[in-house]
Subunit: 213 residues, 2 copies
Amino acid sequence: MTPVITAFAKSPDRGRGLARDMRVRWALEEVEKPYEVRLLSFDAMKQPAHLALNPFGQIPTYEDGDLVLFESGAIVLRIAEQHARLLPEDANARARAIMWMFAALSTVEPPIVERSMAVILERGEPWYEQRMPILEKNIRQRLDRLSHHLGDADWLDGRFSAGDLMMVMVLFRLEGSGLLEEYPNLAAYVARGQARPAFRRAFDAQRQVFLRS
Amino acid sequence: MTPVITAFAKSPDRGRGLARDMRVRWALEEVEKPYEVRLLSFDAMKQPAHLALNPFGQIPTYEDGDLVLFESGAIVLRIAEQHARLLPEDANARARAIMWMFAALSTVEPPIVERSMAVILERGEPWYEQRMPILEKNIRQRLDRLSHHLGDADWLDGRFSAGDLMMVMVLFRLEGSGLLEEYPNLAAYVARGQARPAFRRAFDAQRQVFLRS
């Protein structure tokens, strides 16, 4: 049975790989599980058919037989649990890999998204210049700690895991901000993720959607 | 073996149960697992001994034998995986319960925290009055959808699960904002969570820390 995911028909990131379907595509490529993609317009995302899959009206969703999931974190975890490779066998190492997924989504991503949203929505506001340094300071607080933890290791905790996949994708959102480049080991970490063949396949697949549209 | 969690010696919420150790305490009470608490000053949280447990220098952490975890989501999931009661046995229902944990932390919590932070940090800024309605609109967007999904059900997906635990705790952060009261079914949902004996025990335990300090 081939799972079906949803993605933007016209991604607002113009194919840069920032939309959250990229996380799920990458996970599926790592475990070499074929999948189908159903593309959705912004209008279709708010219609009952899609809201029945994800009440928040977002992408990606994941349909695999009777199971319907939303939330990229939950979908990646489900894929990782079913196919090895993305989670260690050792129980404690497995719990730590899942911990890094939560750290990426709950601790590192929110200030990064807050800055991206301000760039899009508040650029013309009189307070923009004054708030931006505060938003960037919040991001640096997280990156300082993460950089210190990573040190000169390749991955966050031993072998590449779903925790690295999620952290790389979250840091990848800093592209163009100049912030990641302040931390050479984090920049190299993201580049290591991007160099994985599964990442390339996933990236090219989502980029094709943009090029065709 | 009794697990050890960390919590604020002087919680900035003055014992209102908003600190993230409350989530872990509640999960431990639901599965009736005894635990110990190590209280930390703000200074101690930034020292090497604590940073070795959580590189981001936050509470809660969770030590259980050889395993050390941080991130309340990861800790609650670990507890839920080991003790039943907080996750359904059926594999698909289990995946959906975990999905609701991610939805609480990744989709519902960020705009709520953003508003709370603005109230604390930006109240004196000239843009405060203008930004607050935008922040509240972002929260309402999530609550509209969540309220519609919940309808008149008791819990998000069948029996009470770790997904409800996390969602109730995230919505609980809206206390005092007036926003939750705009959605009577969500307010009743949070009240249902608060009425659980395990919630009460956890709440009283964290409140005792404040009353003693």
